[in-house]
Symmetry: D2
Subunit: 373 residues, 4 copies
């Protein structure tokens, strides 16, 4: 369904980078869920550009206007529509280069798909700007999950060649709370070198990518569906909606290609009356279904395609080879800002799967939790 996804809860995304607004319609939330404006503002702030040499100079206030579905600080049970006006647009930057296809970006595919009628300004519908809507919707999902004892946390596992500390995925894991104004890192000491590496690439007119790792705790065993609504299918479907994501892996992921089964298998063990696994190489998912362990996945975020170096390209209109010198305002690295987008889409996906199994009403009234024995 193109720009709509979900089963019990559904998310519709709309907008263009330099159009009037971007937004989201989130349907299937129970009535009476608290809408915490501070939490929402904090999530929006985490995605916001700062014009600090790390991210684009285009900064937006990102105030979310609720058009429907929220009254007196609570959801009403009907579709929640969230609007973010675009205010800081300079379309002049783009008009000149519309026919000069930016390598790595969706300029050419938009031409091919929309036959010249696409809104090409600022990347249009393919701009990272659209992800602001996903963050707004995801914030509500994440709040709801917290009410159910489910936490979602994403950190920058690697960026510009700098690694974060490794994240445990053991049973009983307690997830940190991201700190406002800082990179989502387990080890705060990695922030300075990571920023330096990003700035160095930017200074050379280039860009860098990285790895985002997400951990989800508190999902009861049995959530997810076999075959096409597996936890992995649902999350991968959502994460690949981010245009910069080019790969996703669960648990030990691609490393499993070189392992033997005796290492890859996670032994089951009884711990405090609960069934857990001694290791978590399967990332909390067996046969597509949550096994109660932390759900762990990583995505690769490619380097920002908009770089300032001169690039070979094609003039679409002239149908001739050409050179491109990009101007405008671009992030040398979107990984730090993308962390909260990934977190948001993952929160939506898990809320959807939980709601299929336990019903919409359970979002408000809680999940059945087996007592520890």
């Amino acid at each position: 369904m193109k720009n709509t996804f979900g089963s019990a809860v559904s998310l519709t995304i709309f907008g263009e980078s330099h159009g009037p607004a971007v937004g989201a319609v989130l349907d299937g939330l129970a009535a009476g869920l608290p809408v915490d404006a501070d939490f929402l503002a904090r999530q929006m702030d985490r995605r916001r550009a700062r014009g600090d040499g790390l991210s684009t100079a285009r900064t937006e206030p990102d105030e979310v206007e609720f058009l429907s579905g929220v009254l007196d600080g609570h959801t009403t049970g009907t579709p929640v529509t969230m609007l973010l006006r675009n205010t800081n647009t300079r379309s002049g930057d783009y008009a000149k280069t519309a026919a000069l296809l930016r390598p790595g970006h969706a300029d050419y595919t938009a031409f091919a798909k929309y036959e010249g009628f696409q809104d090409a300004r600022g990347g249009g519908h393919f701009s990272g700007r659209i992800t602001a809507a996903a963050v707004a919707a995801g914030a509500l999902c994440e709040l709801t999950l917290r009410g159910l004892g489910v936490r979602v946390y994403t950190h920058i596992a690697a960026c510009a060649g700098v690694q974060d500390a490794p994240l445990s995925s053991a049973a009983g894991l307690v997830l940190p709370e991201p700190e406002p104004g800082h990179f989502a890192l387990l080890d705060p000491a990695r922030e300075a070198p990571m920023q330096a590496a990003i700035r160095a690439a930017g200074a050379e007119g280039d860009s860098v990518g990285g790895i985002l790792e997400t951990v989800i705790t508190g999902v009861p065993a049995g959530v997810g569906e076999p075959w096409f609504d597996s936890v992995e299918s649902e999350l991968a479907h959502l994460l690949f909606a981010m245009p910069a994501v080019k790969g996703i892996e669960f648990g030990a992921g691609f490393a499993l290609a070189d392992w033997r089964g005796s290492r890859a298998n996670d032994a089951f063990r009884m711990r405090g009356g609960q069934i857990v696994t001694a290791t978590n190489h399967n990332g909390g998912v067996n046969g597509g279904i949550a096994n109660g362990m932390p759900i762990v996945f990583r995505t690769v975020v490619k380097p920002t395609p908009s770089i300032y170096r001169t690039q070979d390209t094609v003039d679409y209109t002239a149908r001739a080879d050409a050179e491109l010198q990009i101007k405008g305002r671009h992030d040398p690295c979107i990984v730090p800002r993308a962390a909260v987008v990934q977190n948001s889409l993952a929160a939506f996906g898990i809320l959807d799967l939980l709601s299929v199994r336990y019903g919409t009403l359970a979002q408000k009234h809680g999940l059945p939790r087996p007592e520890a024995e």
Copy 2:
């Protein structure tokens, strides 16, 4: 929708390993498409176990019975239902160990999800046996794609530590035809060492995994949808339906985490009047939409979880730690057999996306192709 997926074309999968049958309902095919029984048999044969020390001793004839939607060798336009009877089942092997959860397998998640009512025999609905239905359905999709000038090819990029030759993803690529009875390899000389490495692991009561790489040629630029029905979202959703797949990457994939934009971007160039890219690090997809270049992705297939070594586990009924010694018949490696499953699911996904853009009728009447200038 759990065991159903697709927009313009939809695929429903059903069955259990030791139940009466597995099967698929494929809906949304145009009427009048040829159903080539030989091609179907060849695809089924590629997935078939051979009991040769490389794959399980459980061999099934895998004859596909058409229950609906096919008449006189052509599709009728109504749902095509394909049935594969299970004939070679020895459920006695499993009854004893039902409560002893097999690490890495879906035994525990099935218990959690289905509250003890699951069909646990042979892995039930989570068995690789179910993929036979996907291959049958995918064979029809692949045939239809061939009629449209679209080819899908999957090879074993790596298995048991042995690499295949690298696959080009350049414009104008001509894909090979897999040879019956052989591993899907670009370099036939790799088959012997790969088989030897698999047998070696099996001889130690262990198992191995690998990497499957798929290339799709002939998809016109403009196919796929922004956000949730991106080419990457659709294919990832489908591929993660295979329980053993734990990761997927497009183009240069996870390697992009360490690249700079100047390397990752694929420069556009005019070639014979067509727009192509000089490199293909984005795997034929920009902004979620096909750019006309070969679509390239890789999945990681984890080592078979059923191994003969003694493993730590839990007795679900006794809720106590236990040891497990698996018997039964299991593949030391499913990668070679999974190649055709991956190919089949990818063929289905691409046919679905093409049909959204060009309509169901185009499956029979052809895609509009721009003439080379």
Copy 3:
């Protein structure tokens, strides 16, 4: 999605009248639901033709084979596939007349849609035979609803000009149990005149239609969704899948065109601590959502299009006017057999809506019911 429908529970229907089989895949049932073979057989028997001058001489044993999703008399939680083999087919009757379009039937639309590749034998996919699969699936849904305190009952409100006794739709209504081998009538005395009227039409080479009325009790207030998943939208969508249904109305239905609001409005009243309505002209649905009163709707079933009288038509191949003299075996009236089909589709629809609100698990563990005060 063409031959698949549903949100939390989904139903896929396949098959042709003279193909190997018809069948259904029912996905989204909880695990552990009892599958009562006797109840299923009774429902199938209610749809079965008897060759008694009231229904076609083509009788089928209608034994349901479970291909997946059921083990030891209970659902396993995975897709339930139910197969009904076609045994009593005489395709020779149809081959001659394939190009002579039967008025009122789908012969022409099948030609237009499937471009000559349709399975035209016995009406193919448009035959009433396909409804057998819906009854099999609906029987499981109805059984599940009974376990939740929800009853669905359909009677022949009118047929061949003979009316049944009126059905109450008041609060506290207790629904009757249809008697095997008899028309679904509130007043058994109407059966003889109704049969006589049907036989009279059949003797004249003609056919008759009627009205089927369904009442559903025990659905908690609050079930159904605003706008596109309203109780009325869901049920109407399903009922119009029956090719002979040409209209549906809820509550007072079309009569409301001539009423005033003061009559049409159902006053709310407290009864035994529960909110009920004094009348039920809205058929248990306000704003698309169940109000706790019996849900009441009626469909019109058109007269069987296959009649023995000579009819004007067109020879599709010759593209010329022609005359048609239908042979073969046809029901002079399908209304009595259609009652159980309607009941089955309604049961499926209500189970789907209940499952969206309360979750899949509630199918087994029960609905929250407010205690009477």
Copy 4:
């Protein structure tokens, strides 16, 4: 999917009567379709209340703001989001009576469903106000259909006891263009008596309902899908989204209950090289699929539930019987305004079905039309 519907084209509706806005997201339109602001304004005007004793004194300017998907007067191919601000709201009218359930309205079901968190002001999400969004979206669909040679026309077949002239449904029918500022009637002479009858009911503090009839021409034979995406299923699903609609019938509809097959069957005839039917009792649909004749259906619109007469009801909070005296501004009859809503939803539904068969691109590039022979 609750407030989203459609396959190839999808429509999401949001908003509350006294919230900030109502709106629609329309996804799946081809790029490059002209957006005719005058046509849109004319359609919005047809739904607008006039405060003339026929409709509510709450008038809204109904200016549609495009938030996405439209640039330079054409669609861009991405989701079209249309916003209508609510400006003329007097919520004070409602606050007092929130607990006094209005009979015939969704007050009680909203309480039951949303557990007291619903936006009850002005009917909230169940208000007819929401239909403004459907009209905005439908206007774009209707414009697109006109470009494809498909016309949709809805007239007031009956209202307040006054009938319009009958509408032909013969082949070759040319549909009228509704006149701005007038009731949608074939016979303009019926407008005065119809208005008088509505005013008379209003003067007595009461309300009236009616019948809306829609005819769709130019749909090629073969559009629509068997079983669950039949033309009838799709249109019924959409029309029952209007809370006041309580019934729908195609062709001769409920009258068929008393007809014989020899009368109900529409004989096929050759006319100018095309296959047509001599009568159109099946409303242009056989077996769920368009047969090329005008598609004809009627809905019943119940009398407005908000009437000024004192009514028996229940105080939801006190859980006690009570009396209700409604104030506020209400239409004594919504049928004239609902005509354009019905037309809009039907236009959307047909565009969706056409797009499934012919592809999204065909919306712009046209349908294949057989030449007359």
